[in-house]
Point group: D2
Chain length 477, copies 4
């Protein structure tokens, strides 16, 4: 039962950890918080479950939660109009007819909408989770009930993780011809265990930084044997994952964890890149007094011209109510800073990794940690001062808020378009290389008009009279 | 056991409903969502519970939840600096020494901070809940563990409700001399059942609209037999309960229920009073396109000058993604409007009561209701169109978001000051009438300096270098 | 020729100064800057001028400037839609037919639109200026050319001032039956010199604080012998003269005088009333870092919740680039503050009078004053430090920017409506007292529909599809 | 006297026009409006003038205006701290000692600060104007009075233009070794007439798009015989000339020309590039309702997420109060659009050239043009409708507002640094090519520390405690 952990990857256990922490960085624990994970200690691998149509072609926590999961999917559909309109369009044409897609992503309500859209376009899908914590069990159950071969649950062991991936790939009488990956673990598994599968694969679509990095390495080493599409580096994804998304999730994450009032609070934001810009704009708008630290002169200039005082962290550390890091650097907030914060100061990280706040320096005997709520720790100094640390310094927006469905919709639509393009591309259009999605797909492929429309629909905020649709009308077709 | 529901009030059952829905309007269900209410079906009234010091002078859901509740109280203390500094000050002087306060309020982490502050100032307290749903069981347990005589749990029956109040008032060898009420039910109960208690009562402090209304009626009828303090109509409370609070809670409420992205969404806000101003400012700041409906010419002018298009609801109803009511009127959103909304439109109410959206008109056979999440219903038209109705049209901010601790801190501090003032006032200062808290308390009472400081501290946002403290320094003392 | 200065008012010369400085506070010198005042030293009173129709019933600087003035009036008409639609409506009905109005106001393009509207409604008008500096000579010429009996020019002496008023009132064969006043000087003159005129007067319409104050004093003393309408205290006027107007004019005034860039500048605004709120909002929006000083706790709270740091002036005086006063108090900026400002700091006043900045303290031998531009002085310290003082501490928005036509349009329309109402009111509706314009005029008067429309049109921003018109549609008629 | 117009350039007269209109696009007429150009019809070339030190080595309109011009220069110095601190630093070291700079730029108060700084650094300067209209005569007089050899006045003829340039280059006993150009006309003249001068020239510094374009052409053709520095394409210049500058100048330009109130106005901004973003942000902040037209999907998405409705121009053209173009395209606003605008609609251009509004289509017999103010035309339709056209469709910010001194300071400092670098660079560092200023100059040149400091000082907003200085402290030195 433990065989899959023995799988000889180059970097072993650390490779897994890293791929999880870097590709998906942190679990979507808040989105997953609707999941009741405590009720049942039996491993899904040992359960016998059947959906209402009699199929057992799946492995989820509890198929009986399907109804609840269906509701979550329906909520998600409300803000994923591009995928839904793609689905409608597919009633006549089936651009993925014959496609056999093996996927490995977070399994949430939003990815469920993607998976069911791929099915509606004609594809057969087998799916596993790219993170051992991020699966919404009810959503997985709903997918299983709807007939998708899904193998995932919240709280997988490392062995479970690889077992699930294996169950998606290694099937009698079914061979994948497309890969949709998030983090590169699925791709890695196929490379190592089933290299022959690549003979049939028409392409890989990869979303994450880590996965894309791995693909470029393969390509450089001459080992990439199929075309791959880099979804990570599209403009829309970059803007949304940073500026627009963080503008909303900083508020959401702080509110859900601390119920803090923003009005009148003094906040210092470390770093004025896209993430910092989003955080600052939102907090300023709600009445906080915001300071910025920044070492790049151009970004500092922008902060200055946007009306923020640019300071050294040490200048304001005694007076601020909230400290937010988003620099991409290490140890931006040091133990010395933490020592000087006032009582009840909130500290959190919106940056790239969990190293911006020197949390390690707080794990010393003289400080008491008190877990007061999920993702909220009070760190208590000998004199009684408390610092409120969120998500132990990990990414606040992934740990303590949900990513807006609309943002995920953009990535999901791009993934669907990439799959359609790779699957239908005439031979020779794509070599064994890593590609960016063409900005305008109108000129190429068997689905030019569809894709053209869709690439624009990506930006449509859920309404037929929306700006995007107006854009569409402005563009030549 | 059911005897208390038989209690002959004038309006009977409806009186209770009204007092609950009007005084506290809606339960703080979101704040209470941390409460696990499903585990135990035994009524607290039938349980034998003892705290760690051996006392049984309370009735709560589960005394074992005290530790968790203590954590919630500690979180709340972080943003209630005025009460905490009042508490510190009381270490020498005990302005409420000898006070026996019977209270009836929501029982949440924030009111717990108030109650424990009153105790620190020298008072003895007995407490019940003013709403059958709003009690945070863990917080009640923490209060009981700390020795407060608290009688409250989430999900009380109507009989339980009056029983709890009665347990606070009707005690051998202990007689209340102060009342702190929220909604007027406690006051009402004492009037009807124990009128003699008023001989010892030095004053009533009342927070809610409904309770204050009842007091004025009593006063008008010549039946008010003690002084009463109207906390509801203070400037700070009005501003905070409306403009500043709603500016934050509209975002919080929408996000927690629907995960909707605000950027690019088209929103119509019905009504541009203080609540509407708050909602509009927040949504505009986060990139929504906001329309306003307003019939008052001055408010319409303000909306116009603030950069919002003032429209008739029917003009934009087909295109908007979100509809928010805050007019204070009835049936602002009619069935006809609902019929014309587009698929996935979100409808919610931030106004005064639950009648702004004509929800009744949606309870017809041709429409299907689907509860997709707590406080979220999809109402489905025959053609498949879904409208997303939040909190069944009740107040979104009370039902689906937490009220910021800082806001509650203001009211709580005002309540404490009112109690101090009434309890210490020399005879003759207050007659049998309803009073507003004096704007400056410096000239009166035995605690002039304290109260003066406190009335300023109310606005202090949790920091010793805060604006309020600077104000303080500017003011003559 | 100098006889009019000998006129025995109670307060003599100071009365005049005060009425000018308080009612109109400062001259609209910027609006008047298009006026070429240097070419001609001959007093208009000594000139013989005739308009193109042969009339000499006026006294202006130079009738030949009429064409230029007509252009200015046409520009003003573009943003005064309410008056223009009132004018159109009057083509059939002449609600002021028979009215003989004597007026005394600033004479600018905007008041010219008012005067010509009154004429179009059927009135005969005679007009003088309420301020010796504020007349736009070209506009006065254009009015004279159009046949209005106007007596005003820029740079009148005190004797000229009263002479012009007298020429309006004291006419053979013509007796006024309505008064439109701004500051009360005209009313005062009639009271003292021609009390019999009041027998025919149906009412006084007064706009300024000072004038209204005088009327209430008369009323209190039992000496008010006709009804008077207080236009000053209407909600729209208050909001516009303060919040909305200052939000724009602070930017305009600073830019025109100093060409300063707002982005990144540190600004302190003294006072957070309506004027301060407007200044802060505008500067914050354009990227300035804004501090607020405020002693009123409620206003300080608002500043705090709006995201401004509330400080003591001395805390930030060394670092700020701009200091703006709008407190209504005296000596808010003292010589000590001025001594501590850094080089090139800009100091200006948006408040009530010219006493907020202690300018007198700067008129000492060790400081050098250098007039670098109209309304701009460099005050130079012995060490070379320069402070940039605008308008010598007088009101920046009146001295150095134009008041937006739309704002003036609101007052002008209100004045016109008040004249119509008073002139047409049935006997007995108004006593010898001071009235506010009824909020809704629909129920009263011979022009109910007209007035109802007009009171709404006041808020119409120049467009037939404007918010206000939509409001209109929402209102019952 | 007319000989210089006969100078045989390739493109003759049109070359001149183009170079003027493209390099400097439009004259700084507003800044120049302080100039009294009407008093004197004698050509400066025919006047004999001497400054107070007896020198006649200049040619300006009127040397007697020097005092007024000195005041303007002093105002400008207040917001040009980087140049001033560069000047102070040069008291010991003279990095431009021996430099003989011939310059051709706009001659305004801000460039005067640059020229005088170059002199303070040790250079000798001879200067002419790059635009026949943009010279501030008083400033030119002040420079002449201070001993600079300046040859420029407002309203030069084409012959005058080349004559002034020639007088700077063609001097007995003085030969330039550096060129500072804006538009390339000076460089062009030297190439054609005095190619031998290039033997001594160490480098050219060029600011404008056009001039840089010409330099790249020369370089490509192998004809560039000295190193050249492209100042135009620095990040700071790009951001300032577009986003930050336009955010302020759109308000300033509209206000100075029309006195329009922004609050409540409906505005359509065509194009959401950096200029459009600046315009939209400012107008939204002041209460306007802003629509955006945009054809690029990414920019449209940004507009959408920033809260602006993205529309087709024809959808809103009937209802808007203001139309602003900033697309960089031609005929964005067509005659058809103009025909459909409502009365009093304001139309202006903030974009790249004067072709965005099809002004030519308005020069037809049925339309009447009425010049109502400098830079403001009413175009009147047969039915009386007026459209308010600003600056005849030329750039509003250059024609009708001043460019903030701080913005010009950035470019000026960059120019000074480029001159220092080129003049002091060891042989071989720069070839005969076009260079960008190194982002960090600390590693190179004889003035590493100075330049390093200065490149940071560029962003310092006039205060020693400013953000930029804090940046400075953060940076390693």
């Amino acid at each position: 039962m433990q065989e899959f952990t023995k799988f000889p990857t180059k970097t072993g256990r650390r490779s897994l950890s890293r791929s999880i922490s870097q590709s998906s960085t942190d679990s979507y624990s808040s989105a997953a918080s609707y999941t009741d994970s405590s009720d049942d200690e039996v491993s899904p691998r040992e359960k016998q479950q059947t959906n209402s149509k009699g199929s057992s072609n799946f492995c989820v926590k509890n198929i009986k939660q399907a109804e609840f999961g269906r509701r979550e999917i329906e909520i998600a559909e409300q803000d994923m109009s591009a995928l839904i309109s793609l689905r409608k369009r597919a009633q006549g044409e089936k651009p993925l007819a014959g496609a056999k897609i093996v996927g490995c992503t977070h399994i949430t309500a939003q990815t469920a909408v993607l998976i069911e859209t791929l099915c509606a376009l004609g594809a057969q899908c087998r799916w596993s989770a790219c993170n051992i914590y991020s699966t919404q069990n009810e959503v997985a159950a709903a997918l299983a009930e709807a007939g998708v071969a899904v193998f995932a649950w919240k709280g997988e062991s490392e062995d479970d993780f690889w077992w699930c991936i294996d169950r998606c790939v290694n099937v009698d009488g079914w061979q994948a011809n497309m890969i949709l990956d998030d983090g590169g673990d699925l791709t890695h598994w196929v490379y190592k265990k089933y290299p022959n599968v690549f003979k049939k694969i028409r392409g890989i679509v990869e979303e994450s930084v880590t996965g894309v990095h791995r693909l470029y390495q393969l390509s450089k080493a001459g080992k990439l044997c199929v075309p791959a599409m880099n979804v990570n580096d599209s403009v829309t994804k970059q803007k949304f994952d940073n500026l627009y998304c963080c503008r909303e999730s900083i508020l959401d994450g702080l509110k859900r964890t601390t119920d803090v009032m923003f009005g009148g609070k003094q906040v210092v934001v470390c770093g004025y890149g896209e993430v910092g810009k989003g955080c600052c704009a939102a907090l300023k708008a709600l009445g906080a007094i915001v300071y910025v630290t920044e070492i790049d002169p151009i970004c500092a200039l922008q902060a200055c011209m946007d009306g923020f005082r640019v300071v050294k962290l040490s200048e304001v550390i005694r007076q601020v109510d909230v400290v937010i890091t988003c620099t991409g650097n290490k140890n931006v907030v040091t133990r010395e800073h933490l020592d000087r914060m006032k009582n009840s100061c909130i500290v959190c990280n919106m940056g790239h990794s969990n190293t911006e706040i020197d949390v390690t320096s707080l794990r010393t005997p003289e400080l008491t940690w008190e877990r007061v709520r999920s993702q909220v720790d009070h760190v208590i100094w000998p004199d009684g001062k408390r610092v409120v640390l969120l998500a132990e310094g990990r990414l606040l927006n992934l740990s303590c808020s949900t990513v807006p469905t609309f943002v995920l919709s953009i990535t999901a639509t791009t993934q669907a378009l990439a799959l359609i393009e790779l699957y239908n591309a005439p031979e020779g259009r794509y070599k064994q290389d890593v590609y960016l999605l063409p900005k305008k797909m109108g000129d190429v492929g068997p689905w030019p008009f569809l894709c053209h429309r869709m690439s624009l629909s990506i930006i449509s905020p859920a309404t037929s009279t929306s700006p995007a649709c107006i854009c569409l009308r402005l563009m030549p077709t």
